[in-house]
Protein backbone atom coordinates (compact mmCIF):
# COMPACT_ATOMS: atom_id res chain seq x y z
CA UNK A 1 0.00 0.00 0.00
CA UNK A 2 1.41 3.35 -1.02
CA UNK A 3 1.97 5.70 1.86
CA UNK A 4 0.62 9.18 1.24
CA UNK A 5 2.08 12.39 2.59
CA UNK A 6 -0.09 13.83 5.37
CA UNK A 7 0.43 17.35 4.05
CA UNK A 8 0.14 17.14 0.24
CA UNK A 9 -1.32 13.67 -0.33
CA UNK A 10 1.52 12.73 -2.69
CA UNK A 11 3.14 9.30 -2.77
CA UNK A 12 6.72 10.31 -3.55
CA UNK A 13 8.05 9.53 -0.11
CA UNK A 14 11.18 7.95 1.25
CA UNK A 15 12.27 6.55 4.60
CA UNK A 16 14.82 8.72 6.40
CA UNK A 17 15.44 6.75 9.55
CA UNK A 18 14.05 4.10 11.86
CA UNK A 19 14.19 4.15 15.65
CA UNK A 20 14.92 0.81 17.23
CA UNK A 21 14.79 -0.75 20.66
CA UNK A 22 16.21 -4.23 21.19
CA UNK A 23 16.38 -4.71 17.43
CA UNK A 24 12.68 -3.87 16.97
CA UNK A 25 11.63 -0.91 14.85
CA UNK A 26 9.47 1.35 17.01
CA UNK A 27 9.04 4.24 14.60
CA UNK A 28 9.89 5.31 11.06
CA UNK A 29 10.60 8.84 9.83
CA UNK A 30 9.37 9.63 6.31
CA UNK A 31 10.11 12.53 3.98
CA UNK A 32 7.92 13.70 1.13
CA UNK A 33 10.11 14.66 -1.83
CA UNK A 34 7.27 16.71 -3.33
CA UNK A 35 6.40 19.09 -0.46
CA UNK A 36 9.36 18.42 1.89
CA UNK A 37 7.18 17.40 4.83
CA UNK A 38 8.88 15.20 7.43
CA UNK A 39 6.93 12.96 9.76
CA UNK A 40 7.22 10.07 12.16
CA UNK A 41 4.57 7.37 12.11
CA UNK A 42 4.10 7.57 15.89
CA UNK A 43 3.17 11.25 16.04
CA UNK A 44 -0.25 12.43 17.23
CA UNK A 45 -2.92 12.26 14.51
CA UNK A 46 -3.27 16.04 14.58
CA UNK A 47 0.16 16.28 12.93
CA UNK A 48 0.21 13.26 10.61
CA UNK A 49 -3.37 12.28 9.74
CA UNK A 50 -4.45 14.30 6.68
CA UNK A 51 -8.09 14.05 7.75
CA UNK A 52 -7.32 15.57 11.15
CA UNK A 53 -4.75 18.16 10.15
CA UNK A 54 -5.96 21.74 9.89
CA UNK A 55 -6.63 22.49 6.21
CA UNK A 56 -4.68 25.74 6.32
CA UNK A 57 -1.50 23.70 6.79
CA UNK A 58 -2.07 21.48 3.73
CA UNK A 59 -0.13 22.54 0.63
CA UNK A 60 -0.14 21.84 -3.08
CA UNK A 61 3.49 21.58 -4.18
CA UNK A 62 2.63 21.28 -7.87
CA UNK A 63 2.71 25.08 -8.23
CA UNK A 64 5.97 26.13 -6.58
CA UNK A 65 5.71 29.57 -8.17
CA UNK A 66 2.88 30.34 -5.74
CA UNK A 67 5.28 30.25 -2.81
CA UNK A 68 7.62 33.05 -1.81
CA UNK A 69 11.33 32.58 -2.40
CA UNK A 70 13.91 33.43 0.26
CA UNK A 71 16.87 35.19 -1.39
CA UNK A 72 15.80 34.65 -5.02
CA UNK A 73 18.38 32.75 -7.07
CA UNK A 74 20.32 34.65 -9.70
CA UNK A 75 19.36 33.67 -13.25
CA UNK A 76 22.41 32.51 -15.20
Amino acid sequence: MALNCPRCGGDKNRVEHQGKEDGQVIWTVHYCTACCFTWRDTEPALSIDSTKRRKVFQIDPSHPERFGVVIPPVAR
Binding site: R7, R14, E16, H17, Q18, G19, K20, E21, I26, W27, V29, Y31, C35, C36, F37, T38, W39, R40, T42, E43, P44, L46, S47, R53, R54, F57, I59, P61, P64, F67, G68, V69, V70, I71, P73, V74, R76
Partner: protein
Protein backbone atom coordinates in the same frame (compact mmCIF):
# COMPACT_ATOMS: atom_id res chain seq x y z
CA UNK B 1 26.87 40.97 51.47
CA UNK B 2 24.95 37.76 51.39
CA UNK B 3 26.97 34.62 51.78
CA UNK B 4 25.75 33.02 48.59
CA UNK B 5 26.80 35.64 46.10
CA UNK B 6 30.50 34.76 45.72
CA UNK B 7 30.03 31.12 44.79
CA UNK B 8 28.37 31.42 41.39
CA UNK B 9 30.64 34.32 40.40
CA UNK B 10 33.75 32.15 40.66
CA UNK B 11 32.14 29.22 38.94
CA UNK B 12 30.53 31.18 36.11
CA UNK B 13 33.89 32.49 34.90
CA UNK B 14 35.26 28.94 34.79
CA UNK B 15 32.59 27.81 32.32
CA UNK B 16 34.28 26.80 29.06
CA UNK B 17 31.45 24.91 27.42
CA UNK B 18 27.78 24.06 27.56
CA UNK B 19 28.68 20.93 29.56
CA UNK B 20 30.43 23.00 32.19
CA UNK B 21 27.39 25.24 32.36
CA UNK B 22 25.04 22.28 32.81
CA UNK B 23 27.22 21.12 35.72
CA UNK B 24 27.07 24.60 37.22
CA UNK B 25 23.31 24.72 36.77
CA UNK B 26 22.97 21.26 38.35
CA UNK B 27 24.91 22.39 41.41
CA UNK B 28 22.21 25.05 41.87
CA UNK B 29 19.34 22.61 41.17
CA UNK B 30 18.80 24.37 37.84
CA UNK B 31 19.38 21.37 35.55
CA UNK B 32 17.48 18.11 35.85
CA UNK B 33 17.60 14.82 33.99
CA UNK B 34 14.14 13.67 32.91
CA UNK B 35 13.68 10.35 34.70
CA UNK B 36 11.25 8.59 32.36
CA UNK B 37 11.44 7.35 28.77
CA UNK B 38 9.86 9.89 26.37
CA UNK B 39 8.53 9.65 22.84
CA UNK B 40 10.01 12.31 20.52
CA UNK B 41 6.46 13.57 19.96
CA UNK B 42 4.45 14.73 21.80
CA UNK B 43 6.33 14.15 25.07
CA UNK B 44 9.29 16.48 24.54
CA UNK B 45 7.04 19.33 23.38
CA UNK B 46 4.69 18.88 26.33
CA UNK B 47 7.50 18.85 28.89
CA UNK B 48 9.04 21.98 27.35
CA UNK B 49 5.72 23.84 27.39
CA UNK B 50 5.11 22.83 31.01
CA UNK B 51 8.55 24.03 32.11
CA UNK B 52 7.84 27.36 30.40
CA UNK B 53 5.18 28.03 33.04
CA UNK B 54 7.94 28.76 35.54
CA UNK B 55 9.67 31.68 33.87
CA UNK B 56 11.58 32.75 37.01
CA UNK B 57 12.92 29.35 37.98
CA UNK B 58 12.56 26.57 35.41
CA UNK B 59 15.56 24.24 35.12
CA UNK B 60 17.29 23.07 31.98
CA UNK B 61 16.03 19.57 31.15
CA UNK B 62 18.31 16.81 29.91
CA UNK B 63 16.67 13.90 28.11
CA UNK B 64 18.66 10.69 27.86
CA UNK B 65 15.85 8.16 27.46
CA UNK B 66 14.29 9.18 24.14
CA UNK B 67 12.57 6.18 22.64
CA UNK B 68 14.13 5.02 19.40
CA UNK B 69 17.25 7.13 20.02
CA UNK B 70 19.24 4.94 22.40
CA UNK B 71 22.38 6.62 23.75
CA UNK B 72 21.35 10.01 22.38
CA UNK B 73 21.07 13.06 24.60
CA UNK B 74 19.04 16.23 24.22
CA UNK B 75 18.92 19.33 26.42
CA UNK B 76 16.30 22.08 26.33
CA UNK B 77 15.69 25.18 28.40
CA UNK B 78 19.35 25.96 29.08
CA UNK B 79 18.52 29.70 28.91
CA UNK B 80 14.86 29.14 29.76
CA UNK B 81 14.51 30.97 33.08
CA UNK B 82 15.78 34.10 34.80
CA UNK B 83 17.45 31.88 37.39
CA UNK B 84 19.56 30.21 34.71
CA UNK B 85 20.55 33.56 33.21
CA UNK B 86 21.44 34.90 36.66
CA UNK B 87 23.79 31.96 37.21
CA UNK B 88 25.32 32.50 33.77
CA UNK B 89 25.97 36.14 34.65
CA UNK B 90 27.47 35.11 37.99
CA UNK B 91 24.66 36.13 40.33
CA UNK B 92 22.39 34.44 42.86
CA UNK B 93 19.59 32.75 41.04
CA UNK B 94 16.81 35.01 42.34
CA UNK B 95 18.51 38.18 41.09
CA UNK B 96 15.98 40.65 39.70
CA UNK B 97 15.65 41.21 35.96
CA UNK B 98 16.39 44.88 36.52
CA UNK B 99 19.69 44.03 38.22
CA UNK B 100 20.68 41.73 35.34
CA UNK B 101 19.77 44.46 32.86
CA UNK B 102 22.14 46.93 34.57
CA UNK B 103 24.81 44.25 34.77
CA UNK B 104 24.64 43.72 31.01
CA UNK B 105 24.71 47.49 30.48
CA UNK B 106 27.83 47.72 32.63
CA UNK B 107 29.56 45.10 30.48
CA UNK B 108 28.59 46.94 27.30
CA UNK B 109 31.55 48.28 25.35
CA UNK B 110 34.09 46.07 27.09
CA UNK B 111 36.87 45.17 24.69
CA UNK B 112 38.52 42.47 26.76
CA UNK B 113 37.90 39.60 24.37
CA UNK B 114 39.94 36.44 24.94
CA UNK B 115 39.85 33.95 22.10
CA UNK B 116 42.62 31.37 22.67
CA UNK B 117 43.26 28.91 19.83
CA UNK B 118 43.17 25.15 20.25
CA UNK B 119 44.74 22.89 17.63
CA UNK B 120 42.05 20.94 15.75
CA UNK B 121 43.52 17.58 16.77
CA UNK B 122 43.26 18.61 20.43
CA UNK B 123 39.79 20.13 20.28
CA UNK B 124 37.04 18.15 22.03
CA UNK B 125 34.61 18.98 19.21
CA UNK B 126 36.63 16.80 16.82
CA UNK B 127 36.73 13.73 19.09
CA UNK B 128 34.40 11.92 16.67
CA UNK B 129 34.48 12.71 12.98
CA UNK B 130 31.93 11.57 10.36
CA UNK B 131 32.76 12.18 6.71
CA UNK B 132 30.81 9.41 4.95
CA UNK B 133 27.26 8.08 5.06
CA UNK B 134 26.13 11.13 7.01
CA UNK B 135 22.59 10.87 8.38
CA UNK B 136 21.46 13.79 10.52
CA UNK B 137 18.52 11.70 11.76
CA UNK B 138 20.97 9.16 13.11
CA UNK B 139 23.31 11.72 14.70
CA UNK B 140 20.73 14.03 16.32
CA UNK B 141 17.60 13.10 18.28
CA UNK B 142 15.36 15.21 16.06
CA UNK B 143 11.68 15.85 16.82
CA UNK B 144 8.83 18.17 15.85
CA UNK B 145 8.80 21.25 18.06
CA UNK B 146 5.24 22.52 17.31
CA UNK B 147 2.31 20.45 15.94
CA UNK B 148 2.29 21.95 12.46
CA UNK B 149 5.96 22.63 11.87
CA UNK B 150 6.94 21.39 8.41
CA UNK B 151 9.85 19.37 9.76
CA UNK B 152 12.16 18.65 12.68
CA UNK B 153 13.78 21.97 13.33
CA UNK B 154 17.18 22.75 14.76
CA UNK B 155 16.31 25.96 16.59
CA UNK B 156 19.38 26.92 18.60
CA UNK B 157 22.33 26.56 16.25
CA UNK B 158 25.14 29.08 16.01
CA UNK B 159 25.94 29.25 12.29
CA UNK B 160 29.37 30.47 11.16
CA UNK B 161 29.95 31.80 7.67
CA UNK B 162 32.38 34.10 5.93
CA UNK B 163 31.76 36.71 3.30
CA UNK B 164 32.50 34.89 -0.01
CA UNK B 165 34.02 38.14 -1.30
CA UNK B 166 36.29 38.59 1.72
CA UNK B 167 36.87 35.09 3.11
CA UNK B 168 40.00 35.96 5.13
CA UNK B 169 38.36 38.70 7.20
CA UNK B 170 37.83 37.41 10.76
CA UNK B 171 35.57 40.33 11.64
CA UNK B 172 33.30 39.75 8.68
CA UNK B 173 32.97 36.13 9.72
CA UNK B 174 29.43 35.98 10.99
CA UNK B 175 28.00 33.87 13.79
CA UNK B 176 24.24 33.98 14.00
CA UNK B 177 21.22 31.99 15.07
CA UNK B 178 19.17 30.83 12.09
CA UNK B 179 16.51 28.18 12.03
CA UNK B 180 17.46 25.02 10.18
CA UNK B 181 15.14 22.38 8.72
CA UNK B 182 16.74 19.07 7.71
CA UNK B 183 15.72 17.81 4.27
CA UNK B 184 16.96 14.29 4.04
CA UNK B 185 19.96 12.70 5.70
CA UNK B 186 22.52 15.27 4.59
CA UNK B 187 20.74 18.39 3.37
CA UNK B 188 18.99 21.24 5.12
CA UNK B 189 17.42 24.61 4.46
CA UNK B 190 18.55 27.66 6.39
CA UNK B 191 16.24 30.62 6.92
CA UNK B 192 17.79 34.05 6.60
CA UNK B 193 16.81 37.28 4.92
CA UNK B 194 19.00 39.67 2.92
CA UNK B 195 19.39 42.15 5.81
CA UNK B 196 20.99 39.50 8.05
CA UNK B 197 24.71 38.88 7.71
CA UNK B 198 24.11 35.25 6.71
CA UNK B 199 21.61 36.42 4.10
CA UNK B 200 24.24 38.77 2.68
CA UNK B 201 26.71 35.92 2.46
CA UNK B 202 24.18 33.71 0.65
CA UNK B 203 23.30 36.53 -1.70
CA UNK B 204 26.99 37.17 -2.44
CA UNK B 205 27.54 33.46 -3.15
CA UNK B 206 24.51 33.45 -5.42
CA UNK B 207 25.65 36.51 -7.36
CA UNK B 208 29.29 35.52 -7.78
CA UNK B 209 28.96 31.75 -8.03
CA UNK B 210 31.67 31.48 -5.36
CA UNK B 211 31.47 28.64 -2.81
CA UNK B 212 29.94 29.37 0.60
CA UNK B 213 31.02 27.03 3.36
CA UNK B 214 29.39 27.16 6.76
CA UNK B 215 29.68 25.46 10.13
CA UNK B 216 26.58 24.82 12.22
CA UNK B 217 27.52 24.64 15.91
CA UNK B 218 25.19 22.91 18.36
CA UNK B 219 25.61 22.83 22.14
CA UNK B 220 27.50 26.07 22.44
CA UNK B 221 29.17 28.10 25.13
CA UNK B 222 26.18 29.63 26.94
CA UNK B 223 27.43 33.14 26.20
CA UNK B 224 27.45 32.42 22.48
CA UNK B 225 23.83 31.35 22.47
CA UNK B 226 22.93 34.47 24.40
CA UNK B 227 25.01 37.05 22.57
CA UNK B 228 25.32 35.76 18.99
CA UNK B 229 21.80 37.02 18.31
CA UNK B 230 22.59 40.55 19.49
CA UNK B 231 22.56 43.09 16.70
CA UNK B 232 26.13 44.33 16.36
CA UNK B 233 27.96 45.92 13.45
CA UNK B 234 28.61 43.93 10.29
CA UNK B 235 32.37 43.84 10.73
CA UNK B 236 32.43 43.02 14.44
CA UNK B 237 33.07 39.44 15.54
CA UNK B 238 30.36 37.80 17.64
CA UNK B 239 33.06 35.66 19.29
CA UNK B 240 34.88 38.77 20.52
CA UNK B 241 31.65 40.31 21.66
CA UNK B 242 30.47 37.23 23.55
CA UNK B 243 33.84 36.76 25.25
CA UNK B 244 34.02 40.42 26.26
CA UNK B 245 30.47 40.36 27.60
CA UNK B 246 31.18 37.20 29.61
CA UNK B 247 34.60 38.36 30.77
CA UNK B 248 35.93 34.89 30.10
CA UNK B 249 37.69 33.11 27.25
CA UNK B 250 35.94 31.31 24.41
CA UNK B 251 38.30 28.76 22.94
CA UNK B 252 38.31 28.50 19.16
CA UNK B 253 39.57 25.91 16.74
CA UNK B 254 39.17 25.28 13.03
CA UNK B 255 36.44 23.26 11.37
CA UNK B 256 37.28 20.75 8.67
CA UNK B 257 36.12 23.30 6.09
CA UNK B 258 38.23 26.16 7.39
CA UNK B 259 35.95 28.17 9.66
CA UNK B 260 36.57 29.31 13.22
CA UNK B 261 34.41 27.23 15.53
CA UNK B 262 34.16 26.74 19.28
CA UNK B 263 36.61 24.06 20.41
CA UNK B 264 34.10 22.84 23.01
CA UNK B 265 30.93 22.80 20.92
CA UNK B 266 29.03 19.56 21.30
CA UNK B 267 28.40 19.04 17.58
CA UNK B 268 29.49 20.86 14.42
CA UNK B 269 27.84 20.24 11.06
CA UNK B 270 29.98 21.38 8.12
CA UNK B 271 28.05 22.24 5.00
CA UNK B 272 28.24 23.91 1.61
CA UNK B 273 25.75 26.13 -0.15
CA UNK B 274 23.93 24.56 -3.12
CA UNK B 275 23.70 27.34 -5.71
CA UNK B 276 20.27 28.01 -7.15
CA UNK B 277 18.45 25.34 -5.15
CA UNK B 278 15.37 26.25 -3.11
CA UNK B 279 13.25 23.80 -1.11
CA UNK B 280 9.93 24.19 0.67
CA UNK B 281 10.63 25.49 4.16
CA UNK B 282 8.17 25.84 7.02
CA UNK B 283 5.81 26.38 8.60
CA UNK B 284 7.63 26.97 11.85
CA UNK B 285 6.15 28.20 15.14
CA UNK B 286 7.99 31.49 15.52
CA UNK B 287 8.57 33.89 18.41
CA UNK B 288 5.36 35.94 18.04
CA UNK B 289 3.58 32.66 18.79
CA UNK B 290 2.40 32.23 15.22
CA UNK B 291 3.49 29.99 12.38
CA UNK B 292 5.56 31.38 9.57
CA UNK B 293 4.22 30.28 6.20
CA UNK B 294 5.79 27.93 3.67
CA UNK B 295 8.44 29.49 1.44
CA UNK B 296 11.20 28.18 -0.76
CA UNK B 297 14.50 28.56 1.05
CA UNK B 298 18.22 28.17 0.25
CA UNK B 299 19.64 24.71 0.74
CA UNK B 300 22.95 23.36 2.02
CA UNK B 301 24.69 19.99 1.62
CA UNK B 302 26.35 18.50 4.70
CA UNK B 303 29.98 17.61 4.01
CA UNK B 304 31.08 16.37 7.45
CA UNK B 305 30.07 16.25 11.10
CA UNK B 306 32.33 16.51 14.15
CA UNK B 307 31.14 15.88 17.66
CA UNK B 308 32.29 15.26 21.19
CA UNK B 309 31.96 11.77 22.58
CA UNK B 310 28.40 11.13 23.76
CA UNK B 311 27.29 14.56 22.49
CA UNK B 312 24.37 16.57 23.82
CA UNK B 313 22.04 18.04 21.20
CA UNK B 314 20.87 21.42 22.51
CA UNK B 315 17.55 22.64 21.18
CA UNK B 316 15.02 25.31 22.12
CA UNK B 317 11.29 25.35 22.61
CA UNK B 318 9.86 28.26 20.68
CA UNK B 319 6.22 28.97 19.92
CA UNK B 320 3.56 30.85 21.79
CA UNK B 321 5.19 32.65 24.70
CA UNK B 322 6.52 32.61 27.24
CA UNK B 323 9.29 30.39 25.83
CA UNK B 324 13.03 30.01 26.18
CA UNK B 325 13.42 32.29 23.18
CA UNK B 326 12.02 35.21 25.19
CA UNK B 327 14.44 34.73 28.08
CA UNK B 328 17.36 34.04 25.79
CA UNK B 329 17.21 37.25 23.79
CA UNK B 330 15.13 39.61 25.95
CA UNK B 331 17.88 41.44 27.80
CA UNK B 332 20.08 41.59 24.73
CA UNK B 333 17.23 43.13 22.81
CA UNK B 334 16.73 45.72 25.55
CA UNK B 335 20.38 46.69 26.10
CA UNK B 336 21.25 48.06 22.64
CA UNK B 337 18.08 50.17 22.53
CA UNK B 338 19.04 51.61 25.91
CA UNK B 339 22.62 52.32 24.83
CA UNK B 340 21.51 54.05 21.64
CA UNK B 341 18.85 56.15 23.38
CA UNK B 342 21.12 57.09 26.26
CA UNK B 343 23.55 58.86 23.90
CA UNK B 344 21.03 61.59 23.13
CA UNK B 345 18.69 61.28 26.09
CA UNK B 346 20.64 60.71 29.31
CA UNK B 347 17.25 60.92 31.05
CA UNK B 348 16.52 57.34 29.89
CA UNK B 349 16.78 55.05 32.92
CA UNK B 350 15.94 51.56 31.64
CA UNK B 351 14.46 49.76 28.63
CA UNK B 352 12.37 46.61 28.84
CA UNK B 353 11.93 45.03 25.39
CA UNK B 354 11.40 41.49 26.67
CA UNK B 355 8.05 40.85 25.08
CA UNK B 356 8.11 38.98 21.76
CA UNK B 357 11.47 40.41 20.75
CA UNK B 358 10.29 43.92 21.61
CA UNK B 359 6.88 43.96 19.92
CA UNK B 360 5.91 45.56 23.21
CA UNK B 361 8.47 47.68 25.02
CA UNK B 362 8.51 49.78 28.18
CA UNK B 363 10.93 52.66 28.66
CA UNK B 364 11.55 54.43 31.96
CA UNK B 365 12.65 58.05 31.58
CA UNK B 366 13.16 61.06 33.83
CA UNK B 367 10.40 63.26 32.50
CA UNK B 368 11.48 66.91 31.99
CA UNK B 369 8.41 68.73 30.68
CA UNK B 370 5.05 67.96 29.11
CA UNK B 371 5.41 65.77 26.05
CA UNK B 372 9.10 65.00 26.63
CA UNK B 373 8.58 61.25 27.01
CA UNK B 374 6.75 61.14 23.69
CA UNK B 375 9.81 62.57 21.93
CA UNK B 376 12.02 59.98 23.59
CA UNK B 377 9.58 57.32 22.36
CA UNK B 378 9.85 58.66 18.81
CA UNK B 379 13.64 58.42 19.02
CA UNK B 380 13.31 54.81 20.24
CA UNK B 381 11.29 54.04 17.12
CA UNK B 382 14.20 55.21 14.97
CA UNK B 383 16.77 52.92 16.60
CA UNK B 384 17.75 49.94 14.42
CA UNK B 385 15.62 47.55 16.46
CA UNK B 386 12.81 49.99 17.20
CA UNK B 387 12.25 50.67 13.51
CA UNK B 388 10.72 47.27 12.80
CA UNK B 389 9.98 45.74 16.20
CA UNK B 390 8.80 48.31 18.77
CA UNK B 391 5.13 48.15 17.90
CA UNK B 392 3.65 49.06 21.29
CA UNK B 393 5.73 51.39 23.42
CA UNK B 394 4.82 52.36 26.97
CA UNK B 395 6.67 55.29 28.52
CA UNK B 396 6.94 55.39 32.32
CA UNK B 397 8.69 57.67 34.80
CA UNK B 398 12.02 56.94 36.43
CA UNK B 399 10.25 55.97 39.65
CA UNK B 400 8.66 53.00 37.88
CA UNK B 401 10.65 49.79 37.35
CA UNK B 402 9.82 48.88 33.75
CA UNK B 403 10.64 45.22 34.48
CA UNK B 404 7.99 45.09 37.22
CA UNK B 405 4.69 44.83 35.38
CA UNK B 406 2.73 45.59 38.54
CA UNK B 407 4.41 48.97 38.68
CA UNK B 408 3.88 49.52 34.94
CA UNK B 409 0.18 48.76 35.33
CA UNK B 410 0.06 51.23 38.22
CA UNK B 411 1.49 53.94 35.96
CA UNK B 412 -0.98 53.06 33.20
CA UNK B 413 -3.80 53.20 35.72
CA UNK B 414 -3.02 56.53 37.35
CA UNK B 415 -0.84 58.53 34.97
CA UNK B 416 -2.42 57.96 31.55
CA UNK B 417 -5.09 60.04 29.88
CA UNK B 418 -6.71 58.91 26.63
CA UNK B 419 -4.99 61.89 24.99
CA UNK B 420 -1.60 60.44 25.99
CA UNK B 421 -1.83 57.88 23.20
CA UNK B 422 -0.16 58.34 19.82
CA UNK B 423 -0.79 56.08 16.86
CA UNK B 424 1.68 56.29 14.00
CA UNK B 425 0.02 54.86 10.94
CA UNK B 426 1.55 52.74 8.20
CA UNK B 427 5.11 52.45 9.45
CA UNK B 428 7.70 49.73 8.85
CA UNK B 429 7.12 46.51 10.79
CA UNK B 430 8.59 43.04 10.88
CA UNK B 431 7.05 40.65 8.38
CA UNK B 432 5.88 38.13 10.97
CA UNK B 433 3.66 40.32 13.16
CA UNK B 434 0.49 38.17 13.31
CA UNK B 435 -1.69 41.29 13.64
CA UNK B 436 -0.44 42.81 10.39
CA UNK B 437 -2.94 43.57 7.64
CA UNK B 438 -0.03 43.95 5.24
CA UNK B 439 3.02 42.00 6.44
CA UNK B 440 5.96 44.39 6.70
CA UNK B 441 3.80 47.41 7.41
CA UNK B 442 1.75 48.50 10.40
CA UNK B 443 0.94 50.99 13.13
CA UNK B 444 3.14 51.88 16.05
CA UNK B 445 1.47 52.77 19.33
CA UNK B 446 2.95 55.03 22.00
CA UNK B 447 1.29 55.22 25.41
CA UNK B 448 2.73 57.99 27.54
CA UNK B 449 2.21 56.86 31.12
CA UNK B 450 4.51 59.47 32.63
CA UNK B 451 3.60 62.23 35.08
CA UNK B 452 1.89 65.35 33.83
CA UNK B 453 4.46 68.13 33.81
CA UNK B 454 4.30 71.91 33.31
CA UNK B 455 3.02 73.62 31.26
CA UNK B 456 0.25 71.08 31.74
CA UNK B 457 -2.14 72.73 34.24
CA UNK B 458 -1.98 69.70 36.51
CA UNK B 459 1.73 70.36 36.81
CA UNK B 460 2.89 67.14 38.37
CA UNK B 461 1.46 64.25 40.31
CA UNK B 462 -1.33 64.83 42.79
CA UNK B 463 0.08 63.96 46.21
CA UNK B 464 1.45 60.56 45.25
CA UNK B 465 2.81 58.36 48.03
CA UNK B 466 6.57 58.09 47.83
CA UNK B 467 7.58 54.82 49.46
CA UNK B 468 11.24 54.35 50.42
CA UNK B 469 13.32 53.08 47.52
CA UNK B 470 16.91 52.65 46.37
CA UNK B 471 19.84 50.40 47.27
CA UNK B 472 18.90 50.13 50.94
CA UNK B 473 15.45 48.77 50.09
CA UNK B 474 16.92 46.46 47.42
CA UNK B 475 19.39 45.15 50.02
CA UNK B 476 16.53 44.54 52.45
CA UNK B 477 14.62 42.63 49.77
CA UNK B 478 17.71 40.49 49.11
CA UNK B 479 18.07 39.90 52.86
CA UNK B 480 14.46 38.79 53.15
CA UNK B 481 15.04 36.25 50.36
CA UNK B 482 18.26 35.05 52.02
CA UNK B 483 16.48 34.69 55.38
CA UNK B 484 13.92 32.61 53.55
CA UNK B 485 16.73 30.21 52.65
CA UNK B 486 16.90 30.68 48.89
CA UNK B 487 19.95 31.79 47.00
Amino acid sequence: MNKYSDLPIKLASSVRSMRDFLDLLSSHDQCITWPDPVMPEPDIREICVASGQDVPGAPAILFDKIRGYPDKRLVTGVHGSWANLAILLGHPKNTTIKAMFYDIISRWGSEKAQLPRVKPDQAPVHEVRIERDINLYDILPLYRINDFDGGYYIGKANVVSRDPNDPDNFGKQNVGIYRIQPHGPDEFTLMSVPIHDMGRHMQAAEETGKPLKIAVMLGNHPAMAMFAATPIGYDESEYSYASAMMGSPIELTESGNGLDIQAHAEIVIEAEYIHGRREFEGPFGEFPGSYSGVRRAPTFKVTAVSHRKNPIFENIYIGRGWTEHDTLIGLNTSAPIYAQLKKEFPEVVAVNALYQHGLTGIIAVKNRFAGFAKSVALRALSTPHGLMYLKNLIMVDADVDPFDLNQVMWALSVRTRASDIMVLNDMAMIMIDPAAVTPGKGHHLIIDATTHMPPDPIGGDVEIVTPPSGPAIDALAARIRALQGGN
